[in-house]
């Protein structure tokens, strides 16, 4: 009786999408005894995922993106506030390339560390560039009548996530 | 009735919310357990630290029902040397009670005090203590037993007494060596 966790198979499948099956990836299948069965499992799992991607029957997708040193979990129609000034005009659409993870209800593609740029595409529109709240940095020394107040406001760029799409079958 | 996708999502969201924040009743068997180590486990469950939505401002802890409190086991000679201090606020009103004495008077008291100490000392402590239900033996009232949906694992194995082991199992146990005939035990 072959017993394999569906989630293991999922992560296996995702590792395949990034790089060919290495010995490290084979170690994942500790519970699978027979090599033929292993390849059959991979084929079945990949087939099931690819089938959903080709027909477009998968549910809403979400992705974990890496942007300006921070990670955001996003899905379509989200707004994120990035703590920087982006050299992009208001209303312009950009594509986010660094994607760490993309998933729907039935499968998870885990990047090691990043997913292939041609596989998953995330688009975003810059909708706003603004400043955060003003806060006071107060410096004070006892008995010397020294006190200074410095004021600071952070820059924020708001992005609207337009959509996430998986462009091709994951094992090609 | 056909629901629009948006409405369906919001309906299921409210159900999800109730499921996610459901308050469970867990049961813990204190038989042959160190009460001070067990108290840390129980305190974590009372605070909800075993949930991925834990936050120190969120009241997300579970109820814990502890059974067999009379069978706890203290390490070393702690029954004798662990003292519980009380002062009546009058002159000469100090008193020290040994753990064995406390246990004789109330078999749930040692564990209760251990959990009370393991919980953070803020305003939520009494509320969380009110969700702790201690019983000396394994009989639980029906109105509490019907709530229980979760079992906490014990921290150490309960050893078997020699009398509890059946005769044939005792005989089949391998003998590593034999005492010489003239050996006096």
């Amino acid at each position: 009786m072959l017993r394999v966790l569906p989630s293991v198979a999922r992560s296996l499948a995702s590792s395949l999408s990034v790089r060919p099956l290495t010995s490290k990836a084979q170690a994942v299948t500790g519970e699978i005894v027979d090599q033929n069965r292993e390849s059959r499992v991979i084929k079945t799992v990949l087939g099931a995922v690819n089938d959903q991607i080709e027909k477009g029957t998968h549910s809403r997708l979400f992705a974990v993106i890496y942007l300006h040193g921070k990670q955001f979990k996003v899905t379509a129609e989200d707004i994120i506030a990035v703590n920087t000034v982006m050299p992009v005009g208001i209303g312009e659409t950009i594509r986010l390339n660094k994607i760490l993870l993309a998933a729907s209800t039935d499968f998870t593609l885990i990047g090691r560390p990043l997913l292939d740029q041609d596989l998953v595409r995330v688009y975003a529109t810059v909708i706003e560039r603004t400043l955060g709240h003003e806060y006071r940095i107060f410096k004070f020394r006892q008995r010397t009548r020294y006190q200074r107040s410095y004021f600071y406001r952070q820059n924020y760029t708001m992005l609207r996530i337009n959509g996430i799409e998986i462009a091709r079958p994951i094992d090609q | 009735m056909r629901l629009t996708p948006l409405l369906r999502r919001s309906l299921s969201a409210s159900v999800d919310q109730k499921l996610t924040f459901a308050r469970l009743w867990a049961v813990f068997d204190a038989k042959h357990q160190n009460p001070f180590n067990s108290a840390e486990l129980i305190a974590n469950v009372l605070q909800g630290k075993d949930k991925p939505l834990y936050h120190y401002h969120t009241d997300c802890g579970d109820h814990v029902v502890v059974i067999n409190c009379k069978d706890i086991s203290l390490p070393w000679y702690e029954w004798k040397y662990r003292m519980y201090y009380h002062h009546t606020d009058y002159a000469g009103g100090a008193s020290w009670t040994a753990a064995w004495e406390m246990h004789d008077k109330n078999p749930t008291k040692v564990l209760e005090k251990a959990v009370y100490r393991a919980l953070p000392g803020d305003l939520t402590r009494r509320l969380r203590m009110s969700r702790l239900h201690l019983y000396a033996d394994d009989s639980i009232p029906d109105e509490i037993k019907e709530n229980i949906t979760r079992q906490l694992r014990q921290l150490r194995k309960v050893p078997r007494k020699l009398d509890d082991i059946p005769e044939d199992e005792r005989r089949s146990f391998p003998k590593l060596f034999d005492f010489p005939e003239n050996h006096t035990l």
Partner: protein, 148 residues
């Protein structure tokens, strides 16, 4: 009478200047308790202390937030039979670069994805069984249409 230029005009101690100077302080001390809300001499001292404390508070917030994330992640991994540090090491060894913030988010909002991450880390750590102990029996070993 001394006439001043407009540059020096704000040096004059008029009742209006006194009012607005205090007004600026009371605006910020409005939520304090007792006389430090309405008495200027007390309010300004409390405010200075509050501003210096706020500096430490901004640093502490980052620390407590990170602790909360770690607590949430470990709560989820432990219910799947893996402790936090083997999980983190396993992910790092598998070159998965997800941070604490996102992992804590996935732990409660996307349990299936989180579970596959735990399995990935567990199988990495399985090479050294001393680190993970026995697999938790909470894990369902299923065969959802993959072995037929």
């Amino acid at each position: 009478m001394v006439t001043l230029t407009s540059v020096l005009a704000h040096w004059v101690k008029t009742p209006a200047n006194r009012y607005w100077k205090r007004r600026r302080v009371f605006i910020e001390s409005g939520h304090f308790y007792g006389r430090s809300r309405n008495c200027y001499a007390i309010a300004i001292r409390r405010l200075e202390k509050a501003w210096t404390n706020a500096k430490h508070g901004r640093a502490d917030l980052k620390k407590t937030t990170s602790q909360t994330w770690q607590s949430r992640i470990s709560a989820s991994t432990e219910s799947l039979g893996l402790n936090y540090f083997p999980f983190a090491h396993g992910l790092a060894h598998q070159q998965v670069a997800l941070g604490k913030k996102v992992l804590a988010d996935l732990a409660w909002s996307e349990p299936r994805s989180f579970r596959s991450l735990v399995e990935l880390a567990r199988n990495d750590a399985c090479k050294d069984p001393a680190h993970i102990g026995e697999p938790n029996e909470n894990v369902i070993l299923g065969s959802e249409g993959v072995d037929k």
